[in-house]
């Protein structure tokens, strides 16, 4: 038996390194000798027993199986099933440990295998130098990639000023005002981010109007953004400078250039999804995720009614519900928006400006009604939403674009044994473990085309009022972005 051991110190926190290595299908991103990688049968790459197919840069092919994975111990074990290189009974273990002194990572990579007589040295070198040492270098390079681009310059430790948009009193779009804000150097558990794109959400409008006490006059608006991590505070283990991240969180304050936020609230954006796309889908896509996977688990054959189906949330929810096997009915206010809604997955679209949709929903569903209603309309849609419910249907009120929902009569739902709920995205994202799970599912939905991000407009920070006017006019499609 040959035994090969290599170990290295990686200058990044253990969670950050593990997030890459635990993905059994990640090597093409960082390992210099792996040209192609795929998991057989499209299984998830953290499913113990899954098999990956490697094609190396020299053309050799290797099939390897994941035989143990422990997030608790930061350890994985895998073996070669068959390979063009004569490594027999090859079993390897990757083990990470935290270097608490400096927030770095110790990486131990070890294998045992048999080789044909006379080729012991050559093959041990190939594994130890080519695969393991090459992997260390490749991962270091991969992690350093973003760092150069972070461009912190001399600001290390110093506050950074940037342009921002605040609302000076409650009211229409005209109350938005340019201001300057300061992003302090990140404290323990914090990261400082240079925003690349800021997602505009309808909740920004409610807050600006004073409909929701989530911010006070004078505060900077905005609950969502994407960008590049400039620097991190002590004890931050999930991101490093140069990482591209997105977040959706309270308190408000994302309409600005640079911001310091809790590290636990940010999610890394995978390669292949750009910053603008991330800002367009993060809050709205996470909302679609919890609506269709948590609040109500959509099963094939169900009818899902999505209001404002050409809007930011609507386009994502419609496409995602369709991919889960639902019949999707959307409502929109114009024919042009009906096309957008269809493009994004609606089977049926009801065009109405006056919230008359119940008859059409019942007709389209053969009298069944909607098992799930995704409702951001509020006040004006109450009557027809109640009339659109299927037996045991679930009406989810997520917003109030047409006005606040009036109190519901206590017997409002009895005619259909229906349920009603009023969830808030921030309650779902507050727990970092749940946020990571939700974000993972969202990124996968984006990468696999299950949801198709639609950017309906980009505005400079100074034109935020114009963007708000567009959103409130019902003329926007997809998600609107501010680009600082």
């Amino acid at each position: 038996m040959q035994r090969v051991t290599r170990s290295a110190i990686i200058d990044a926190p253990i969670d950050r390194v593990w997030a890459i290595l635990r993905d059994f299908n990640s090597h093409t991103a960082w390992h210099p000798v792996v040209a192609e990688s795929g998991i057989e049968g499209d299984e998830p790459s953290d499913r113990v027993g899954c098999v990956r197919n490697f094609t190396l840069r020299d053309g050799a092919r290797i099939r390897e199986q994941l035989i143990a994975l422990s997030d608790r111990d930061h350890r994985m074990t895998y073996c070669i099933l068959d390979a063009d290189v004569p490594l027999e009974r090859y079993v390897a273990t990757v083990q990470l440990k935290p270097v608490t002194d400096g927030n770095r990572t110790f990486w131990h990579w070890q294998s045992t295998f048999r080789t044909p007589r006379g080729r012991e040295r050559e093959l041990s070198e190939m594994v130890g130098v080519g695969v393991y040492e090459g992997g260390f270098a490749g991962l270091r390079q991969y992690l350093a990639r973003g760092r150069a681009g972070a461009g912190l310059g001399d600001a290390r430790g110093a506050p950074i000023e940037s342009d921002a948009i605040a609302f000076e009193r409650t009211g229409g779009p005209e109350v938005l005002r340019p201001v300057r804000v300061v992003a302090n150097a990140p404290g323990p558990g914090e990261v400082r981010i240079r925003h690349a794109a800021i997602g505009i959400n309808y909740v920004d409008v409610y807050i600006r109007r004073g409909w929701m006490p989530l911010a006070a006059p004078g505060d900077v608006l905005g609950v969502e953004a994407s960008g590049v991590v400039l620097d991190v505070g002590p004890d931050v283990t999930n991101v490093i400078p140069g990482d591209r991240v997105a977040y959706a969180l309270l308190p408000c304050g994302s309409y600005c250039g640079v911001r310091t936020v809790p590290a636990a609230q940010v999610a890394r954006i995978p390669d292949g999804i750009d910053n603008e796309t991330a800002a367009a889908v993060f809050l709205k896509g996470l909302t679609a995720e919890y609506l269709l996977h948590r609040i109500h688990r959509v099963v094939p054959g169900e009818v899902v009614l999505v209001h404002a189906a050409a809007g930011g949330l609507g386009t994502l929810a419609a496409g995602w519900a369709r991919s889960l096997g639902a019949t999707v009915i959307g409502t929109v206010s114009t024919d042009e928006k009906a096309r957008t809604a269809r493009d994004h997955g609606c089977h049926h679209v009801v065009v109405t400006r006056e919230y008359n949709f119940a008859d059409a929903v019942l007709r389209a569903s053969g009298g069944r009604g909607a098992d799930l209603i995704v409702d951001g309309l509020g006040e004006r849609g109450v009557r027809d939403n109640l009339a659109s419910l299927a037996l045991f249907g679930h009406w989810v009120s997520v917003g109030q674009a047409s006005g606040a929902l009036p109190p519901l009569a206590s017997d409002a739902l009895v005619h259909r044994s229906a349920t009603f709920s009023q969830p808030v995205i921030f309650h779902y994202t507050a727990d970092p473990a749940r946020l990571a799970e939700m974000a993972g599912r969202l990124w996968q939905a984006v990468q696999s085309g299950v949801v198709r991000p639609e950017i309906g407009g980009r505005f400079e920070l100074g034109s935020a009022a114009e963007a708000h006017r567009l959103l409130e006019s019902r003329a926007s499609r997809g998600a609107l972005l501010l680009v600082p």
Partner: protein, 146 residues
């Protein structure tokens, strides 16, 4: 059970560092907090089961027993028999692992013990930073290449 874990990187081969720390009676020679030490009953310091009695620079007296010693794994385990600290069932492990990249070593020092919940933070801090990290800092200084 409270668990404290401290780890560091020392810029010397594991063999070299191990030759300094494997001696259960050598704390005063490398750990800045320890004033003097002796092994009870004149036993050899690498005899598993031996007890070291040592004094901290602040005057505290401790007795610790060697539970295991492995030259193969660069690892030793010991327990506290008596100490001024309000804790019980204290078992600690000190371990080195070679880092092939750069010919350095990865050092881990961990402990498990029981104590009153109200003292957890303070004791974890004292042991993890005050004792373990202070020891690593001394080793880093001693073996520093620059």
């Amino acid at each position: 059970m409270i668990r404290v874990y401290t780890s560091s990187v020392i810029d010397a081969p594991a063999d070299t560092v191990w030759s300094v720390i494997r001696d259960f009676n050598a704390l005063p020679a490398w750990h800045p907090l320890i004033a003097d030490s002796r092994i009870e009953n004149a036993q050899p310091s690498d005899k598993v089961g031996c007890v070291r009695a040592f004094r901290m620079r602040d005057g505290g007296q401790l007795r610790e027993q060697l539970l295991s010693l492995s030259d193969y794994d660069y690892q030793c385990t010991y327990s506290i028999l008596a100490s001024p600290m309000p804790l019980e069932h204290y078992v600690a492990t000190l371990k080195l692992t070679p880092v092939t990249d750069g010919n350095r070593c990865f050092a881990e020092w961990s402990a498990e013990f029981d104590c009153e919940p109200a003292r957890e933070r303070e004791l974890s801090q004292t042991i993890g930073q005050g004792v373990f990290q202070a020891g690593f800092d001394a080793l880093k200084l001693r073996f520093g290449r620059r």
